[in-house]
């Protein structure tokens, strides 16, 4: 029973270890592609296992350290699906002759274990360790293209700022522990209303927000994002701009709604500011970018801002909207980076927006996919991006956050501009005299990756019902467990009537 709660994690760990064991035994000259296929298989299994977890009765395991509920399963599915797509995109984009591909895939699998644990952990210690596993593996993956100075530079920047953020996050946990004497999320929520040192908890909230703000690249903690996205290999960016971020958002939700609901009045304004600054700064900076990857990096900052809008509405809809936004965001982002990793090439020889001019004339299908993802990022109806934004802002408006909603939607107008710049470039004729670099044939795996993410984006835009239901169920579990205080009040109110 305990093992069932961490079944996906177990599968992925075993697979990762197996790859590491087998990899040295393979002949030096042999292709490492089969390890990629194997990891795809493992990820599918993990996805299935997560789906199977839906039928488990929600509950905790391992002495209340992990919790399986609709919320964790939702994010499990999201993360497994995203990593699956990223893996598919990576198999043929990375150089097949490289000898460290076994490690590459093993790192992805093990990193995914960390992300999955982040979403299901209800003990801050496990959250922290999961966060570190996923972070460290992404630091390494970012520097995987070692021959390029940029890649390793991205790695060091990511590493230093990520660790810096970790220290803040940890400080926040320490102060929470100081205020409540526990690091279990439910216990914190229960102890918080009675603490003698609430000011510690308030400080903790701020520090945790700084720490996780870095991880989700919310402005003003976003400084690493553009450089890292630009420098890291595109298949890795497809992964690290999506799954770890979704996991970090899950942690944010879990911590703030699960542990700190009783001091909500102290933190919602922080989210307000963070959201507004992220949206505005991200979009304004994206306007000036020439590099496609940098532009998308800034856009991801803006998207983090949109998502944070959902946090300001302290409601079930808010959680559901945030979860759903995370889902849509990863679907479209992993897709667009899958395209970029193919078009730009492993060494990013095509990087600027002008390089992408006339892509429609060279490979119409890829270009169509990219255009579709861009439209979703803009938030055009019948794509996931639209509904995501819609839910987030409707949740915010239900709490009367008019200012934030208006800032957000004006921002989405600004954002449309730079996405369109790329979009129109795709469909323009290539500039005269510029060398037309051939895009290599798309491999089946990449096609599959793009197809998966595109269909996910489309389905989320047309029939969002089932995924939204799951998000709402997850939100329900989180919102209930997060309110022992309210439950206590109800008991008190019930008492006289008996």
């Amino acid at each position: 029973m305990h093992l069932a709660c961490i079944l996906p994690e177990v599968i992925l760990t075993l697979a990762g270890v197996l790859i590491m064991l087998v990899d040295p035994l393979l002949p030096r000259t042999a292709s490492r592609k089969p390890t990629g296929w194997f990891s795809v298989l493992a990820m599918v299994a993990a996805f299935a296992a997560s789906a199977w977890q839906l039928h488990l009765a929600p509950g905790t395991a391992y002495y209340g350290v992990v919790q399986t509920d609709a919320f964790s399963v939702f994010f499990h599915l999201l993360i497994c699906g995203t990593v699956l797509v990223a893996l598919l995109a990576a198999i043929d984009s990375v150089r097949p002759e490289a000898h460290d591909m076994g490690e590459f895939f093993a790192l992805i699998l093990l990193g995914t274990v960390g992300m999955l644990l982040m979403t299901s952990a209800v003990e801050l210690l496990l959250v922290f360790i999961g966060l570190e596993i996923s972070s460290i593996s992404t630091y390494i993956l970012a520097g995987f293209r070692r021959r390029s100075g940029k890649s390793i530079e991205a790695s060091i920047k990511y590493f230093l700022l990520g660790s810096f953020a970790t220290a803040f996050f940890l400080y926040g946990i320490a102060l929470t522990f100081g205020a409540t004497g526990t690091t279990r999320i439910a216990a914190i929520a229960a102890a918080l209303p009675h603490t003698t040192t609430p000011i510690l908890a308030w400080t903790a909230v701020g520090l945790i927000l700084i720490g996780l703000g870095f991880k989700v690249s919310a402005a003003p903690f976003h400084v690493w994002t553009p450089d890292v996205y630009e420098g890291a290999p595109s298949p890795v960016v497809a992964l690290m701009s999506t799954a770890p971020k979704a996991a970090a958002f899950a942690v944010l939700l879990r911590i703030f709604y699960g542990a700190y609901p009783s001091i909500q009045q102290h933190w919602w304004s922080l989210f307000w500011v963070l959201a507004a600054v992220s949206m505005t700064l991200g979009n304004l900076a994206a306007l000036r970018q020439q590099s496609v990857k940098r532009m998308l990096a800034y856009s991801s900052i803006a998207h983090a801002g949109y998502l944070l809008v959902a946090f300001t509405s302290f409601s079930l809809q808010g959680i559901a909207a945030a979860s759903f936004y995370a889902l849509c965001y990863v679907a479209m982002n992993v897709g667009i980076f899958a395209v970029i990793s193919h078009v730009g090439g492993y060494d990013d020889h095509l990087w600027s927006i002008t390089d992408y001019r006339g892509l429609a004339y060279r490979s119409p299908v890829l270009c169509g996919a990219m255009a579709f993802f861009l439209l979703s990022l803009i938030g055009i109806p019948f794509t996931g991006g639209f509904f995501a934004k819609f839910y987030v802002f409707s949740a915010a408006l239900q709490q009367g956050m008019f200012g934030l909603a208006i800032i957000g939607l004006i921002n989405s107008g600004i954002a449309a501009f730079y996405y369109l710049r790329l979009l129109t470039a795709l469909y323009s004729k290539p500039a005269q005299g510029s060398p037309v670099l051939a895009v290599p044939r798309m491999s089946i795996t990449l096609g599959l990756a793009i197809l998966l993410s595109a269909s996910a984006t489309l389905l989320l835009g047309v029939v969002p019902r089932s995924s939204l239901d799951l998000a709402q169920r997850g939100a329900g579990t989180l919102f209930q467990t997060g309110h022992p205080a309210q439950a206590a009040v109800q008991v008190v109110n019930d008492a006289p009537s008996q």
Partner: protein, 101 residues
């Protein structure tokens, strides 16, 4: 034989702040990384102090895990630093700027 817990916390806050300051102004990547270690150590002190206050073992265990994490980070971080030295032949953060910040 008493010292207020708050003194320990203030000490840890001082160390943490010095760590942040060092992170911001040091120019050698290794030293920058060391300032992160200093920050983590400061946090550890907070944990131990609170563990003492609450008579809770879990606070100390947290520190134990932080040490493990710090060790893992050190291994990876130093490997990255070696790799960047190979690629760029410098350890100055200001010269690690192929991409504009």
């Amino acid at each position: 034989m008493v010292v207020p817990i708050a003194y320990y916390l203030v000490l840890s806050a001082i160390l943490f702040s010095i760590g942040v300051a060092a992170f911001l102004i040091k120019r050698n990547i290794i030293t920058v990384f060391m300032s992160i270690e200093l920050m983590l150590n400061a946090v550890n002190l907070t944990f131990v102090a609170f563990a003492h206050q609450w008579h809770q073992v879990s606070g100390q265990i947290f520190v134990f895990f932080v040490m493990v994490v710090a060790a893992a980070e050190a291994a990876v971080g130093l490997a990255i630093i070696i790799a960047i030295f190979r690629a760029r032949n410098t350890l100055n953060v200001d010269q690690v700027n192929l991409m504009k910040l």
